[in-house]
Amino acid sequence: MRKLALSDDILLSVEKPSRYIGGEYNAYNKDPDSVEVNAVFCFPDVYEIGTANLGMQIIYEQFNRREDAYCDRVYSPWTDLDQIMRERKIPLFAVESQRPVRDFDLLLITLQYEMCYTNVLQILDLSGIPLHAEDRTQEDPIVIGGGACAYNPEPMAAFFDVFYLGEAETRYDTVVEVLKACKARNSTRQETLEALAEIPGLYVPQFYQVTYHEDGTIASFTSTNPHAPAVVKKEFCIRKDSESSDMDDSLPYPLRPIVPLSRGMMDRATLEVMRGCIRGCRFCQAGMIYRPTRNRSLDFLKKAAVSMLESTGYDELNISSLATSDYSDFREFMEFILPYCEEHKINIGVPSLRIDSFELDVMGKIQDIKKSSLTFAPEAGSQRLRDIINKGLTEEEILEGARKAFEGGWNKVKLYFMLGQPFETEEDVRAIPVLANEIARVYYETVPKEKRQGRVQIQASTSFFVPKPFTPFQWAPMLTAEEFTKKAWLVKDTMREQLNKKSLVYHYHDDNQTELEGLFARGDRKLSTLIEEAYKRGCMYDAWGDHMKYDVWLRVMEEQGITFEFYNYRERPLDEILPWDFIDIGVTKRFLMREWENARAGKVTPHCRKECSGCGMRKYHGGVCIEDKTEIQ
């Protein structure tokens, strides 16, 4: 029987003890001592959220398929266990081997959202690892950060030895090899970090120095160690030799994913059909950092879908990507998977759809039309603003899609919008309820009275726009919390003026998280003292609304002279050195600037399949960049 790190009395006194026992079906459960390099992967949030993460499962697979390496896992202990561990001085342990995190060679922490930053400090603290990278010794693991937020690692730079910039598949094997060599040579920590700094895509913050102008902006950003390159290039998977597939089928993928013992956020298998997005919405970071769009091969997807379902017993398959229906072989794949799922009584989830007849047909097969709703994400209410953000979706397309959906039997529609995008006017905000009303009108026009089942329901939700690095809007000013709230009220009031107001519902989140998210998204190294101090005063689980101690954050900000004016509210000039400028994501800054100007001019940029706009990725000769564009108009 497996020996657990926590005694029965602790496990029986905390909420959901199954979070801490590991031993799930399909977990590898290797002996950490039996391999040359052992790592522990950390998702700095609770187990149920962490286990749902596909990136984690890919890295987990990548390490564990090697004979000489092992990857275990750890998640944030919930506040009840956190307190017990501090009181009784129990070191944080990995869930499978139940060994202390500090005993591993590598601690890989994924940063999926900014609001997890204090949880990262909790992980280090409970593990007994010094918070500051520079204070660590040979006895501590090398702490590597990754994930979407690592594209601006600077606010967290003090706490990480290394950041891995880009897609995990390409370089973790090299990391293992380098570590093996360093261990064999008995390298010092410094030597190991230098060796790691030479691996493409790896960034060792200690080896760089930042100086600032008097106004707080960056004056210089330089490498101080000959092993550390001045510019760090993001890593990504590309395959040039194939006609049908852009992602290599032999890349690690969790064909036998871990099945959590307690119900997770995603009690289902996740299949990534492609990476990247051809559309180029100007607010969207994923749309830029995952360029170019790369398909997975149809053969791989068929094999992977069946393997994942059979090896887990899941009864739901989630087909994922940024815009699934842009996947080139979408139709062929659906023609394969629909009958398979019907035979095996498996539900399919397909988010991010565009509404055309084929898709409605697909949706009709996989959803209970009476109960489910169709989702559109126009992101902006007016055509003017949709052009500014480059959301290639016209009002006609939306209304036409809705009409088809209503004809197909749906009577619930969900609409997603963002408030506070650059150049937004009052008119643009009012256009949100107007559009919702139009859709309701289409329903009453399309569906004759005798066929209506209850009232049509149009649900509009808004979120607040946060400018992100490596997007054309990275220079844009962000709104203040008051301005956001005012806009939400304007939507609400305008909603009430609509003819079909009884069919319209409006939701918005009014939380303080957005401003802090904005702060960290485009922050610099000066924010590390803020994060550390807030953590020391009890901030943790900031992503969990009721745990966010906003007043503490504000107080520390004031004490340290950190302002939203500087980080969030001002428009950044184009010649300012941005904290993340040392990273080369392939998409050029020139392209982002051009897109920022196009936004100002309300000029639409076509998507990658229609026409190449020269974003900079073409030089890598892969994915959508080398697709034959003549056949698609």
Binding site: L4, D8, G23, L309, E310, G313
Partner: protein, 242 residues
């Protein structure tokens, strides 16, 4: 056709709750590629019913679930296929084919066997504020416990979510044995009369003037029974081999 499975739940799986066990079986059945009968409707589900939930922290060798199949392989084959894709700490140990008109496991339930072993470090004569000074040692413990059980009636309060009612433990305990250093209890279980071994110990400790620490024992459920013409029958005995 309805199949009754007997299974054990041990080790770290003691910390997963009943709902998670239900979900575990849904996936296990799929992994084993069993021809389970599904309910009709837009989102069909497997027809399964469990005998009775097991408290968090308890281990068991006597858990039961009834599952409806369309077709089923032979028993050995079924057990092999399921265990091949199950965790080491959850084993399917037996199975039987139920008659078509069989009552489900839950409604048959009348009694259950439990074995309570002293948890190392929590023995009530050692420390942890659960009876030191009251019990001098293991022999003294059993002496007092047997005396406690020999009373014609043992009244105590049983708290449920909504009410407090008085019960007589003496009428609910069907069998007691000392098995080396362990306590073996057979108690009423089911909708008519239900007793948990923890309540027996809690009451006993209170009678002795000691506080009961719920960690004193590790508790294992050994078997579940129904009652047929006055005799207890393990739930696996209600069907036939297949």
């Amino acid at each position: 056709m309805k199949i009754r499975l007997k299974f054990s739940k041990q080790g770290s799986l003691r910390f997963i709750g009943h709902l998670d066990v239900m979900r575990y079986f849904q996936k296990l059945n799929r992994r084993a590629k069993l021809d389970i009968k599904y309910s009709k409707g837009f989102s069909p589900h497997q027809e399964m019913s469990f005998a009775t939930p097991l408290g968090l922290g308890l281990s068991s060798d006597g858990e039961y679930v009834d599952i409806e199949f369309n077709t089923v392989p032979g028993k050995e084959e079924l057990l092999r296929r399921m265990n091949e894709v199950s965790l080491p700490e959850l084993r399917i140990t037996d199975a039987c084919l139920l008659p078509d008109d069989a009552k489900n496991a839950m409604s048959l339930l009348e009694a259950a066997d439990y074995t309570l072993k002293f948890r190392e470090g929590y023995e009530p004569w050692i420390s942890r504020g659960n009876g030191e000074g009251v019990f001098e040692g293991i022999e003294d413990f059993f002496e007092k416990f047997e005396k406690f059980l020999s009373q014609p009636s043992i009244l105590t309060e049983k708290k449920t979510k909504t009410s407090v009612k008085e019960v007589d433990l003496a009428r609910q305990i069907r069998l007691y044995e000392r098995r080396e250093d362990a306590v073996f209890l057979r108690v009423d279980t089911g909708s008519a009369s239900n007793l948990k071994p923890e309540l027996v110990m809690e009451t006993f400790f209170r009678t002795c003037g000691a506080a009961y620490n719920e960690l004193t024992f590790t508790i294992n459920r050994d078997e579940l029974y129904g009652e047929e013409s006055g005799r207890l029958l393990p739930l696996i005995g209600y069907g036939t081999d297949f």
